[in-house]
């Protein structure tokens, strides 16, 4: 009774004070999340035919403003701060990851907003909606006719073709969730951020205009498995709270370092936590959703997901391992060794058997996840900076790869079966050249960002005593090179099929996205120093 009275008394005495907010430090995050809310309002209040231009402009503006505020803050070389009631840690890796996410958001947004590659944009919510659009938007009595015409008549007659514009608030919310995810200083914030980033992604996956069943299957699969992953994560949080009495990362580390308690709760908690995180990062054996979702989701969404989710997931994994479990690394590292080897092997070997370009890139991403895990396991400044750089490099290459994939089409939509890519170089030498360059970057050949990134991660891993893993990783790279090479062989050395796909001449948006991806891939391969310096500016803190 006494204790209860005390609590009441304490509550009465100290009115709950609002947590201190370092507004300038978290401004990019606030801008993105606030922008997302306004984007929802735009969706609600504007007439349908005005939404697309306004939403695109607004989303672009939000990202640019967030980037400017981030740059303004980061250029002052700030000290790491922990703010918002110690729930967010804005340190140097956070700033780098925020920058990476926002920069990757630009090409992703451009591809999502594009309406030239798939007439009318790649998204439509339901079959009924599509049928309704056949008879003309707003009941204006269009007669339909060809399906392309039907798609174009969605909106007011005479207007530019329109698409499902809920995509834009989804993108902004997902981006905001990812930014919070990588900055989270405690596990509860991290969990909420995980949900904020995941839910829009689940929805986005199911919105493909073509091959709707595949797309919806992907969405359901992603949602169900993702929900499992989140549940594991939450259970892990609970166990860790039971062990340390706190969900704050630094306090878990402190509890683990200074205690003689049984470690069972700690490592069971870590294991469950990691299941949730590795799921997001599509690391084998938690990868099974990846090929299906990559294949089924609309390609611009796949690009966004492949690049940004990877950044967010590995940013969070690196932070958790570095801040909360750095002191106990010798206990858990063996397990992660096994997972990294498995991921590299699964990605490289199963990638060999794929016949669909998008599935192939999915398996490649699983192999890359294994490589990334090497960097996150090295609890050293080099490991952190290598991982961060790898994420930046991989993200841009991947976005551009999916951009190119979205261009190769036949009457059925995207022609993603490998056999349809035969002889592409003859039809479109530029697209084939760009794709070759990007694939060589994924394979990690010198003078591309892929090589620099691999070098950064592997040298960090080697100097932290992981020589066998590095050798395995390099062998896996050689195996993976085979399936990248197979695409190049098909494009250049095979004769094109008579009724093969055509290469769409992309509009300005997709062109800009691919160009950006290629330029960054090249630049980070030749002159990586500024990015490396920024990535190495400081360690995780919390």
């Amino acid at each position: 009774m006494n204790a209860a009275n005390d609590v009441v008394a304490v509550l009465a005495q100290e009115a709950i004070t609002a947590p201190a907010v370092d507004g300038i430090a978290v401004a990019p995050l606030l801008v993105v999340l606030g922008g997302a809310c306004i984007s929802v309002l735009i969706e609600a209040f504007l007439p349908r035919h005005q939404r697309w231009p306004v939403q695109v402009t607004w989303a672009g503006l939000v990202i640019v403003v967030a980037l400017v505020s981030l740059a303004g803050y980061a250029l002052g070389s700030p000290q790491p701060v922990v703010t918002l009631g110690e729930s967010l840690s804005v340190d140097s890796p956070t700033l780098f990851l925020w920058g990476t996410l926002l920069l990757l958001g630009i090409p992703s947004l451009l591809m999502i907003a594009d309406r030239s590659v798939e007439p009318g944009g790649a998204f439509i919510p339901s079959a009924a909606e599509r049928a309704a659009s056949r008879v003309g938007g707003g009941g204006t009595g269009g007669t339909g006719g060809s399906s392309e015409h039907a798609d174009r008549s969605y909106g007011l007659p005479g207007q530019a073709p329109t698409m499902q514009t809920e995509m834009f608030p989804f993108v902004l919310f997902a981006l905001g969730g990812m930014m919070a995810f990588v900055a989270a200083n405690d596990l509860l914030t991290m969990f909420i951020a995980l949900e904020v980033l995941s839910l829009p992604l689940y929805l986005m996956c199911g919105l493909a205009r073509r091959r709707r069943l595949l797309s919806q299957e992907a969405a359901v699969k992603y949602f169900l498995l993702g929900a499992f992953g989140s549940a594991f994560f939450l259970y892990g949080v609970a166990l860790l709270y039971g062990y340390s009495g706190s969900v704050r990362l630094s306090e878990i580390s402190a509890a683990a370092a200074g205690s003689t308690r049984s470690d069972t709760l700690l490592f069971a908690g870590l294991a469950l936590l990691l299941v949730g995180l590795l799921f997001k990062g599509s690391v084998a054996p938690f990868h099974t959703w990846t090929p299906d979702v990559y294949q089924g989701a609309p390609t611009p969404v796949t690009a966004f997901m492949a690049a940004c989710t990877k950044v967010a997931a590995f940013g969070a994994i690196a932070r958790v391992l570095y801040v909360a479990f750095g002191s106990t690394r010798w206990e858990w590292r063996g397990v992660l060794w096994a997972i990294a080897v498995l991921s590299m092997a699964v990605g490289a070997v199963l990638g060999l058997t794929q016949t669909d370009v998008k599935r192939m890139v999915a398996y490649s991403s699983i192999a890359h996840a294994g490589f990334l895990l090497l960097g996150t396991m090295a609890i050293t400044p080099e490991g952190t900076s290598g991982t961060l750089f790898y994420l930046l490099a991989y993200g841009f290459t991947t976005v551009a790869v999916f951009g190119v994939i979205s261009l190769v089409r036949d009457s059925e939509g995207e022609a993603s079966h490998l056999s349809q890519w035969a002889g592409l170089a003859k039809r479109s030498p530029v697209v084939a050249g760009v794709m070759t360059f990007l694939l060589l970057a994924l394979a990690g050949l010198p003078l591309t960002s892929g090589f620099t990134a691999k070098f950064a991660v592997f040298s960090a891993a080697l100097s932290d005593g992981m020589a066998p893993l590095v050798v395995i990783a390099l062998v896996a790279s050689a195996v993976a090179a085979f399936f990248y090479l197979r695409v190049i062989v098909l494009m250049y050395f095979s004769e094109p099929a008579a009724d093969g796909p055509t290469v769409v001449v992309p509009g300005a948006f997709t062109t800009a996205a691919i160009t950006l991806g290629v330029l960054v891939t090249l630049l980070l391969g030749i002159l990586p120093t500024p990015a490396l310096q920024w990535a190495g500016a400081g360690a995780f803190s919390g």
């Binding site: 900076s385 003859k426 060589l440 394979a443 990690g444 050949l445 010198p446 003078l447 090589f451 620099t452 691999k454 070098f455 950064a456 592997f458 040298s459 080697l462 100097s463 020589a467 590095v470 050798v471 390099l474 062998v475 790279s477 050689a478 090179a481 085979f482 090479l485 197979r486 062989v489 250049y492 050395f493 095979s494 990586p528 120093t529 490396l532 310096q533 190495g536």
Partner: protein
């Protein structure tokens, strides 16, 4: 930092001589220019040839500018350039040549115009243009200059991997019927080797970070550190480099890609591949394996020598049994690479000098052999040895040139290869007598395979499907015709024609080089010798046969 150096190596990041960069960029720009010129094939060829000749002139300038006296006084590299590249990885854009690198760059620059002349009127696969063909040749040349001139290990690795790409497209787009398979096999083998080397490279970086306080890739700094690295570490690092080079060379158990690639590549690609690109491996042994891992090199030398000698005998036997001319030449090369590896891992400066000279001579003689085979294939349209016979009657000049190339390949005294093979054997004997004796047997096999090949294709009555078909096409009649086919061929003017003017222009510089270097190798050896002496000092062993006694 380099104890051998009086003047000291170049200060990192201080710029320096840009000649080597120009040598690198000129063919690279030339290859890029080929793309806009693809509509105008004649102009593209002209530009490509002009670029190749200009490159040759610049290489001559570099050769003249190379000071052998300074090299003998201990200046390890000349024409040096250094600029910072990625400070986080301790890498530099650093170029410089020693005598070994210089002769290899010169060999490349010498061969490329000849190859272009050979390819001038070549019939390409459908849908391919000569501008792409010549562009890839120039791009390969640029990468080769980079790989030989790099004095930063990281930069070397970059070019080592990058040179795969133009060669891959050269084989895959312009090669024979089975070119896709050969191109992919070539690329994957090399890439696997390269990635294993990358592991060692990273290891080297980490070790240098521990030993020098700051990770570096500068060759000279790594070399000063080399002696203090424990042997066990050295062996791991050595193995990474060694596997990459053994695949590239190729040495015996890693050689299976070469016959495929050599046979399916277009002739000019095969010459560049076998003549120069594979020499990167033997060059790498001399420049990287030995000086950077001296203890490991000595510890593992018996292994390498065994592989080398097995390769000499085994490849020679396989060469005897080949039915495809390009594969035949490829197998002879594998045998020759065995000799080069023998010279390198026998640890005497005379054997080093012989091995280096062998690299040049092998480029010339095998290059010429490939070209002659290519000319034969152009006429007969078949790669099979059995499809040819008695060609000497129809095309005596062609047969004569083939004989010169063959004699050079089997190291007949008076040809260039004899000097190098002799130097290798003499230099290797003190340290590796048994291996040397076994290798000498390889010379006999060489005579066997070359002479038998010559006899089957050139001597005897005119026969073989390809020859008769060619004659029938021209209306000259086959062996059964009333007139003597040789006379008929002359009378009809074509059929199985002898060397044309362009082809004579192709072979003349090669024959001159083969004969002149056979009698007067001194200009090359003068450039090579100071650098191999320096390499010997870096290995840190007593020199059983110093280069002073080389044949002049």
């Amino acid at each position: 930092m380099n104890v051998l150096s009086a003047a000291g190596p170049i200060v990192p990041d201080s710029g320096g001589n840009v000649l080597l960069i120009v040598l690198l960029l000129l063919p690279l720009v030339g290859s890029l220019v080929m793309y806009p010129l693809r509509g105008n094939v004649a102009l593209a060829k002209g530009v490509a040839m002009a670029v190749a000749l200009l490159e040759l002139v610049l290489v001559v300038l570099a050769w003249v500018g190379y000071d052998t006296a300074a090299a003998a006084d201990g200046t390890r590299f000349q024409l040096e350039f250094s600029a910072s590249w990625i400070p986080a990885f301790g890498t530099h854009i650093a170029f410089g040549v020693d005598g070994i690198a210089l002769v290899m760059i010169a060999l490349t620059a010498f061969l490329v115009p000849i190859l272009m002349l050979f390819a001038w009127a070549e019939k390409l696969p459908e849908g391919r243009t000569a501008s792409g063909y010549f562009g890839l040749l120039l791009a390969t040349q640029a990468m080769l200059v980079g790989v030989f001139a790099a004095t930063d290990v990281f930069l070397f690795y970059v070019f080592f991997e990058a040179m795969l790409i133009p060669m891959y497209f050269l084989i895959g787009r312009f090669g024979g019927p089975n070119r896709q398979y050969a191109a992919v096999k070539f690329f994957l083998y090399s890439l696997l080797g390269g990635l294993i080397m990358l592991a060692s490279l990273i290891g080297l970086f980490v070790v240098s970070g521990e030993r020098l306080g700051q990770g570096t890739f500068t060759w000279a700094e790594l070399q000063t550190m080399a002696a203090t690295v424990p042997t066990s570490t050295q062996i791991w690092l050595f193995l990474g480099f060694f596997v990459a080079f053994a695949i590239k060379a190729p040495l015996f158990p890693f050689h299976t890609w070469l016959p495929d690639a050599g046979a399916e590549a277009p002739i000019v690609g095969a010459v560049l591949l076998v003549g120069v690109l594979d020499k990167v491996a033997t060059f790498g042994f001399l420049r990287y394996c030995l000086p950077l891992f001296p203890a490991a090199s000595q510890a593992l030398a018996p292994l390498v020598l065994t592989l080398a000698v097995v390769g000499i005998i085994y490849a020679a036997l396989l060469a005897v049994g080949q039915t495809d001319m390009s594969r035949f030449v490829s197998y002879t090369s594998i045998a020759h690479f065995g000799f080069i590896a023998l010279g390198i891992f026998a640890f005497s400066s005379q054997a080093f000098a012989g091995a280096t000279l062998y690299m040049v001579n092998h480029g010339l003689s095998t290059g010429m052999l490939f070209l002659m085979v290519g000319m034969l294939i152009t006429r007969g349209g078949s790669r099979k040895i059995a499809d040819y016979g008695g060609v000497a009657k129809l095309a005596p000049l062609l047969a004569g040139c083939l004989l010169v190339a063959g004699m050079s390949s089997l190291a007949l005294p008076g040809t260039n290869s004899f000097v190098s093979e002799f130097l290798v054997l003499v230099g290797s004997f003190p340290n590796a007598p048994v291996f040397t004796i076994v290798a000498t047997v390889g010379i006999i096999f060489a005579a066997l395979y070359v002479l038998w090949f010559y006899q089957r294709t050139m001597q005897g009555p005119v026969r073989g499907d390809a020859v008769t078909a060619a004659l029938e096409r021209a209306g000259a009649g086959g062996p059964g015709a009333m007139t003597d086919p040789g006379i008929a061929a002359k009378r009809a003017g074509t059929g199985f024609a002898d060397l044309g003017r362009r082809e004579i222009a192709v072979v003349t510089p090669l024959i001159v080089a083969i004969v002149v270097l056979g009698f007067f190798p001194a200009p090359l050896l003068d450039v090579i010798n100071p650098s191999v002496t320096a390499t010997m000092q870096e290995v840190g062993l007593a020199d059983p046969v110093p280069v002073g006694g080389t044949a002049r």
